[in-house]
């Protein structure tokens, strides 16, 4: 007797998601831009574009270039700032009954704390995702995610200040992901998400110059999926807090690969650019897989990977 209805909800411990599919920060705007294509409440959650305290301009163009099965970007985290988000965007996301996860940025540890305190005052946010891949102006532009001490320092400070749970988003550009993951866990992070983009370079051979104005950019899209999956698997083994996996997910099968290695949820990024309904399609495809394989709860599939 085949399963008719699959329970797609997943428990992060501090929050139960209606399904494991979230949007990845920076690939879904602030959510409302995608309302012509996606009923936001059908998603596990909407992770907003990264927010600093003040509005930001971002990098000069070219900011994005397509590469084989992926894209390289150096957008530079432009945005409207946290106050405009709370005033203009959040009420509309609440109206849509979206599960809102705010991605928090900072040029300094103080700024992260300031953004989180500001958001704490607002209603209608489920939890925060901490973007620790922002260049830190006090550390010569190095981002906290590359170093366990810096990771510990920013996560512990924000965790002490924040009234909501925190997911720390990790960078893949490190030699030992377990070391950074444990530092974030010890600092009190409630969960981890990974991976952010892989640092890359693309050259225009006609001009012998970089294709991006910023020279280097972050690689995302299907090209990075196996790289991301390896890091997610190793992170799951290294920590006891929930892990959210992302990196190149385009189909339900891709998402299931991440869940199988122990991710409790996934984020969809680059796929939104070419398929604005990718998130909904992926939920459907995962559900279909479960029905076909007699899995009544998606949680039963999580961590089912065996070597």
């Amino acid at each position: 007797m085949a399963v008719q209805k699959v329970d797609m909800s997943v428990d992060l411990g501090f929050f139960r998601l209606t399904n494991p599919v979230l949007t990845a920060s920076g690939t879904f705007g602030y959510g409302i831009e995608m309302m012509p294509f996606v009923e936001l409440k059908k998603l596990g959650g909407v992770v907003t574009k990264g927010l600093y305290f003040e509005p930001r301009e971002g990098n000069p163009p070219p900011r994005l270039v397509e590469v084989t099965a992926g894209l390289l970007n150096a957008i530079g985290l432009p945005g409207i700032g946290v106050k405009a988000f709370i005033r203009d965007i959040l009420p509309r996301l609440r109206e849509e009954k979206a599960t809102v996860i705010v991605n928090v940025c900072g040029e300094t540890v103080e700024e992260y704390v300031k953004v989180v305190r500001c958001l704490d005052e607002a209603e209608g946010i489920a939890f925060y995702e901490l973007n620790i891949s922002c260049p830190n102006v006090e550390e010569e532009g190095r981002c906290p995610a590359l170093n366990p001490q810096a990771t510990y320092s920013v996560v512990s400070r924000v965790k002490k200040a924040a009234q909501r749970p925190i997911v720390t988003k990790l960078s893949p550009n490190v030699t030992d992901i377990a070391l950074i993951a444990r530092a974030a866990e010890e600092a009190g992070s409630d969960a981890l998400s990974l991976v952010n983009t892989f640092l890359g370079l693309a050259v225009n051979v006609e001009t012998r110059r970089p294709k991006l104005a910023n020279v280097y950019g972050g690689l995302s899209g299907p090209a990075i999926k196996p790289l991301a999956l390896r890091l997610v698997y190793q992170t799951v083994q290294a920590v006891n807090i929930p892990v959210i996996g992302l990196g190149g997910i385009v189909t339900g099968y891709d998402a299931l690969e991440f869940l199988s290695v122990g991710a409790r949820a996934v984020q969809i990024g680059t796929a939104n650019f070419f398929d604005p309904q990718a998130t909904l399609r992926i939920i459907q495809e995962m559900e279909e897989f479960c029905r076909e394989h007699n899995i009544s709860r998606i949680e039963d599939f999580i961590g089912s990977f065996r070597i």
């Binding site: 012509p36 574009k49 900011r63 994005l64 398929d275």
Partner: protein
């Protein structure tokens, strides 16, 4: 930011090819009803991952009564090359209409306007001319390219648009007047009688025209071409310097453009 935009599968009805230039007529009734001249659609050129991203195309013409739209493009890279391989009967995933188009409401019947298209830049102006004709605006089109083969829409313009004057310009003199379309435009000395200029083409051409019409005090609208990641305002990649409240900001071309008045555009120098 709520907007009427559709994600549709559009069947290719007809295809025409002139060297590197392709014209597709597609069946997309929803888009044909909503579209305005200067707006664009994002097309997924492959269901595989190479190329990965959609490509933006200006709408070249729209026929809401038949549910048809047209796109006209030049094969310039991997995406357009792949797109050129599709045949009538096949379907493409389209998102549109997107962006802010040319403004027509400022014009009244009998006004005279100039449309300047360089190469594939003629596409949105064709659609614009269709609508200007309905409004009984007097239209003069300047259509320029390197040589005769870069002006494949000449016959279609003559047959369908009924414009007051069509001036052709080629750099090698193989069709129409010899020289850059901007040089031909300058020689005509027609500015005092012109209400508005609508432009789409290479950056250098548009920049020259912007400076020309500034001197003459004629307002102009320019459709900018940029690399676009999504066309939906979510990737933040297609920015240019646009003047807002007296300062230059990075503005998303897909959302606030692609059409802008000349005076707010910061032109790229050679």
């Amino acid at each position: 930011m709520e907007r009427e935009v559709c994600l549709v599968q559009a069947k290719i009805l007809e295809k025409y090819k002139w060297g590197q230039y392709i014209l597709f007529y597609l069946f997309a009734p929803e888009i044909s009803k909503l579209a305005k001249p200067g707006q664009f659609v994002m097309i997924r050129v492959s269901e595989q991952f190479i190329p990965l991203l959609r490509r933006p195309f200006s709408l070249m013409s729209v026929d809401p009564s038949e549910g048809r739209i047209a796109i006209f493009f030049q094969i310039v890279g991997r995406g357009t090359s792949r797109l050129s391989q599709y045949s009538p009967g096949e379907s493409l995933s389209l998102i549109g209409p997107l962006g802010q188009g040319y403004s027509l409401s400022v014009l009244k019947p009998g006004d005279k306007v100039i449309l300047v298209g360089g190469g594939r830049g003629i596409a949105p102006l064709f659609f614009l001319a269709q609508q200007l004709k309905e409004k009984k605006i007097r239209v003069m089109i300047f259509y320029g390219g390197k040589s005769a083969q870069d002006l494949p829409l000449k016959s279609l313009i003559e047959e369908e648009l009924g414009v007051e004057e069509l001036v052709l310009a080629t750099e090698d003199g193989s069709l129409g007047e010899k020289g850059l379309v901007t040089e031909v435009l300058e020689r005509k000395e027609i500015w005092p009688r012109i209400e508005r200029v609508y432009v789409c083409g290479p950056e250098a051409m548009m920049r020259k025209i912007a400076r020309m019409i500034e001197v003459w005090g004629v307002p102009g609208e320019f459709s900018l071409e940029t690399y676009m990641g999504c066309g939906l305002g979510i990737c933040w990649s297609c920015v240019r310097r646009i003047k807002k409240a007296n300062s230059w900001s990075w503005v998303k071309i897909c959302e606030e453009g692609p059409v802008f008045p000349g005076e707010v555009i910061k032109w790229e120098e050679d």
